[in-house]
């Protein structure tokens, strides 16, 4: 799949933002006044910024409100509805605790639950697609949730928890890559099932239906850049997991080094998210004998 900047930024940043909101709703860290303002500001900037980025790839963003209507069947619609609910609830909770120093625990918990649900819905937009076997795995939502929680814990300075979550995340990410590598073959798709011509022999594309590119080949038959996949996986593993884990486990972090850990983690997150799209193969590639 084409790794468009807008979807990479959207899923990464909004995941981090909602992860941080989930912790803030639980009162972690227990802050008030200006320092509460700073935490909430970062959380809203990330989650709202991410959601706005997602509208950049729409053909007709002026109709975006219509996307709230089909929550009964569509994960994309559900994501929109739950995200807005989470932002409203957490916005109220934040305003009360920053300006009036009132903490309504139940409201915070509700906001937390909605934030986590938003991340789950984002993951299911991809996880539901049978056409992309690498995404269509039970582990996809778990992976997205771990990214949000580990990153959220880091940003919320819950370092003990962040260490545990980063270990879980790194292991899950590596296993997901390994399982993902065989997902296409396991799903049983081939150019023969796509064309139904398998009974006549081995099928290959002789002539493409069009001489140039089209929407399908640009969007779904993206094969550039996969040759560096292994190197990028190693870079991602070190940045998002191994180095932050080592620093959290063996050093006493001050503000500067903690910021460094956060930045490294976010770089790793971007690389891993780029791979999530670039490595994903869509079955329509079979008709083009390329995937």
């Amino acid at each position: 799949m084409h790794p468009a900047a807008s979807v990479i930024i959207f899923t990464s940043l909004s995941g981090l933002g909602f992860g941080l909101l989930a912790f803030l709703g639980l009162g972690l860290p227990n802050v008030s006044g200006w320092s509460a303002f700073a935490f909430f500001f970062i959380a809203f900037a990330l989650s709202v910024g991410g959601l706005l980025a997602s509208t950049f790839h729409l053909g007709n963003p002026q109709r975006a409100l219509k996307a709230f209507s089909q929550w009964r069947t569509s994960w994309l619609s559900r994501e929109g509805v739950v995200a807005v609910a989470a932002l409203l609830v957490m916005g109220l909770y934040a305003a009360l605790s920053i300006f009036l120093d009132i903490r309504i625990t139940a409201l915070g918990w509700l906001g937390s639950a909605l934030s986590i649900t938003t991340v789950y819905c984002t993951a299911m937009i991809y996880g539901q697609l049978k056409t992309v076997p690498r995404w269509n795995m039970g582990v996809t939502p778990i992976l997205f949730l771990l990214y949000a929680l580990a990153g959220g814990a880091l940003l919320a300075t819950q370092l003990r928890l962040a260490l545990l979550l980063l270990v879980a995340l790194t292991i899950t990410q590596i296993l997901t890559w390994i399982r993902g590598d065989i997902s296409f073959a396991t799903a049983g798709h081939s150019i023969e099932t796509a064309t139904g011509l398998g009974h006549l022999g081995k099928v290959r594309l002789l002539e493409s239906p069009h001489s140039g590119e089209n929407y399908l080949t640009r969007e779904m038959v993206h094969i550039v850049g996969r040759k560096h996949a292994l190197k990028l996986r190693i870079i991602a593993t070190f940045c998002l997991g191994l180095i932050p884990i080592a620093m959290l486990a063996f050093f006493n972090l001050d503000h500067i080094s903690a910021l460094l850990v956060v930045i490294l983690h976010i770089i790793g997150l971007f690389v891993a998210r780029w791979l999530f799209f670039a490595e994903a193969e869509h079955v329509v590639g079979l008709y083009y004998d390329a995937r």
Partner: protein
């Protein structure tokens, strides 16, 4: 509404005969012509006369080579447009309700004034049947020529999809698969009409008739029964020719 109807009264769709399609792309052109000048936004082209042309089409023809070991390859032209699936994943993923499947005849359509152009439905379709128009930013797909098949302003003979009407080889047929006696149902039953990528569980309405296996062509031994008569009469020339042959070699 993006919930799928449990069942539809009719199941309108196409039979595409892979044994007959000659790959002339006439249906591609007539589809583009009809659908760019009738229902919905026109099908735009980008850089049409430049170095890197591309554009929106609702129907495309792939050409495959099928090969068995030690046999000559067989060429199969493969038209592909929306299959109007019974379990259409493109419909249920749509966040706006723009994509829907009609209860009365099963045609899958996009209401362009509701479409935000998110592209998710194209990701959900296994067959590459949906293309986002680069100019209009809305999703385009085969309408089964809904504005022809019921159109009483057209002569009756033209009340079928543009691609079916134009095919010079009669490789495309239009009809109702819910009626077991319709021509398309019978054709599909007789010839083993197949559904593409059945493992995706989309239950396509359109069926493809498999190409008949080619008669075996001989590639070894005598190619032709007349060949023995064309053998050179004598390997070593005699008489005058023999003398000439020897004399010329001695030179």
């Amino acid at each position: 509404m993006t919930a799928l109807p449990p069942t539809t009264a009719k199941k309108l769709g196409l039979v595409i005969d892979l044994d007959i399609c000659v790959g002339c792309h006439a249906c591609v052109i007539n589809c583009k012509e009809w659908n760019t000048s009738n229902y919905g936004a026109p099908l735009s082209d980008q850089d049409a006369y430049g170095a890197n042309p591309s554009g929106t089409f609702l129907n495309r023809i792939h050409t495959y080579e099928v090969k068995q070991d030690a046999k000559p390859a067989q060429i199969v032209h493969f038209p592909k447009s929306c299959l109007h699936c019974e379990d259409a994943p493109c419909v249920t993923v749509c966040p706006t309700g723009a994509s829907y499947k009609r209860v009365e005849d099963g045609i899958v359509l996009v209401n362009e004034s509701d479409c935000i152009g998110c592209g998710l439905c194209a990701w959900a379709c296994p067959y590459g049947a949906r293309e986002l128009d680069a100019k209009e930013g809305v999703m385009k797909k085969c309408t089964l020529c809904v504005d022809r098949i019921y159109n009483e302003n057209l002569p009756e003979i033209d009340r079928e999809p543009a691609c079916v009407r134009t095919c010079p080889a009669n490789a495309r047929h239009f009809g109702d698969f819910a009626d077991p006696d319709s021509a398309v149902s019978r054709m599909s039953a007789e010839r083993g009409g197949m559904r593409l990528m059945p493992e995706q569980g989309t239950k396509p309405v359109n069926r493809y008739l498999p190409p008949r296996p080619k008669a075996d062509i001989q590639t070894s031994g005598d190619i032709d029964i007349l060949a023995p008569f064309l053998e050179p009469v004598a390997d070593t020339p005699k008489g005058l020719l023999g003398w000439l042959d020897k004399a010329l070699e001695a030179l």
